[in-house]
Amino acid sequence: MKKLSAFLLSLVMVAGLLAGCGGGDKSATSDSSAPADSAASANKVVKIGVFEPQTGDNGAGGKQEILGMQYANYVQPTVEIGGETYDVQLEIVDNRTSAENGPSAAAELVNRGVSVVLGSYGSGVSMAGGAIFEEAGIPAIGVTCTNPQVTADCSVYYRICFLDPFQGTVLANYAYNELGVTTAYVLGMLGSDYDQGLVYYFTEAFEALGGTVVAESFPEGTANFVSYINNAKSAGAGVIFAPVSINYAQLIVEAADAQGFDGALLGSDTWDSNKVIESAKGKNISAYVTTFYQEGGNPEFDTGIKEWINANADAKTNNGGNDMIAAVTAMGYDAYFTALEALKAAGSTDPKAVLEALPGVSYEGVSGLIEFDDIGDAVRDSAFIKTANTETGAWDFVKVQSVE
């Protein structure tokens, strides 16, 4: 009996293995004929890798970013490369937000033969994947990974967003100069390089301006922020700067409301999400965020993507159930077109050619002009500041802030 079961077990495993192999082969061969509509046009295919989290802490944000790319792909499914029309095919691989899964997800993209990679949402996993992309010589365009380290030590990584030092400084300036606050409470998640990086730059800038900063961290998985808000209150803070992921941002909004915190909440680009604004709706708080894009900045894009989202149930689910456009979606959209520009400029689908062409790309996207500096970072000198309108449940534009 035991032997039989052992035998069956190994049979199952072997079958699984074989099935896996088969699957692997299949995807390798059948992918080239993928989009049904393009099969008719018989164009050649160029693959763009999407290296984004669909699961894990940044899953929600990653999905919204992918939406932008998918919409862009819907708007512009083909590209002229070297005089030929290519169908653009997105190869989406989930990196699960974790550095541990970064390398294999990146390798999977390389394996699928992509010409250029878009992503990721967060910095940590971008760095983990960066090493693989660098070895493979495939250019990567970071969308919203704002840590300076992403591009600093990686020859193939470029990005279209602003950086943490910039964002942190912008917010510090805004808090000190515009909101007139001298004491700030900053809160980041323990173990998140994104949070702690922004905390660092904000603190540096805010203290340089003459303000006082009280900094604390919360462990991952914290669900109750009441005590943190109380700490901010007892520190006499006029603002709480919490550059945290969407889920925690919602919790902080709730807790600030419940504890009657009367200062302002400051958020980074992660806060610019319809989920956060939903939480803020009807609450007695004030919140300001910096972001890459302001809805209404490009009406054509807005209406187009809203229509597309509303017509597409999956997309709507991924967007959190409504058609509000997150900045990361706009950034994903821009990243896609930047990649197309690079492909056009390269005149080839060879990653090496694309890599050479990428630094020279200049593209006017919905989030502004995209150009790269020597390191591969976007040349951006201003950010949008928005505030949460707790009555209408929307982000209201405040101003464009740049660092002087």
Binding site: G22, A99, G102, S104, I132, D153, L190, S192, Q196
Partner: protein
Amino acid sequence: MTSSKKKTIFTAAVLAVLLAVCVVVDMTLPSYHIVVVVIKKATVYSLVAVSMNLLNGFTGLFSLGQAGFMLLGAYAYGVLTIPVDKRASVYQYFDGGAIQFSLPEIFSGALGDTVGTVVGMLAALLVGGILAALLAYLIGLPVLRLKSDYLAIATLGFAEILRAFFQWNTLGPITNGSNLLKSYPAFSHATPYVILAGLMIAVIVLLINSTYGRAFKAIRDDEVAAEAMGINLAHHKRLAFIISSFFAGIGGGMMAMYMGTIAAAPFKSTLTYEILLIVVIGGIGSITGSILASFLYIFSSEWLLRGLDAGKFLGISAPSVFKNGFRMVVLSVIIMIIVLFFRRGLMGDKELPDLLDRRPKKREKEAAGK
């Protein structure tokens, strides 16, 4: 005697073939190829799974602290190998950090670039292992007196505490706080991983077949009898715990090499659970099983079953079923089936050479008849 000789030859042949395959893979495929990447990851997991098996499977101590020791090993490796001129940018928030040397560079000065770097990397791995072993000694003092499930939960707790310490900003000049460590040297090919992990596992196998290994197994089978036969329980349990942690530390260092960046986040209890389940799939008490299961698990979860997440698998296209997460559901169902119905796992307590035995039938019968 001849049968044992035959077994040795068989084992050596299998290992040689595997190594040859790995070398061929390395020579024909670029280092960023998915096959190379999954071999690297599976190799690291094998080492950690075997180290966990040494403790949980061979000594019968149910510890869930593996991720913590890996964390220590990973950080030790990163901290000691980041080139000095890269430290300013890695430790960007901590003025370049407190440690201003790099083992590979030190050894490069003495031994030449290539050899020196490799020696430095190995030395850093070793330091990681030793630190993990030291910590295991300290933790073991209070914790190893606890009985099965209490031990499990206490070691789990220690791993969590350790994680908080490594993310603590005050230790930032060394650990870089919550920020990543990166830019350290790593092997890009799979063969060095396989050789390194292979050597470590070989040492574990030697240990298990030594008089100490037999004592560990005696403790697992019957603590009371073991103690009555002169085996010092405290001493031997501590020994097993320290040795297991040492190899987990080295495994952590290799994990760091594989990941390219080090943060405390991946070393959560989930990682320990994953490794524990791998050990169970392979068979508690079988080194071969742990290795086999590591490869099966990593290959399927990272590569072969990806189709289950992407809408298309085995040529069947069903995007509504094969969507994100389905791969892990399938895997965890398989794991549960193994846990419930095939408790002995793939290999039971058999090893590679035992596959040559022509007598498993007889033993099975006897086991059933008892």
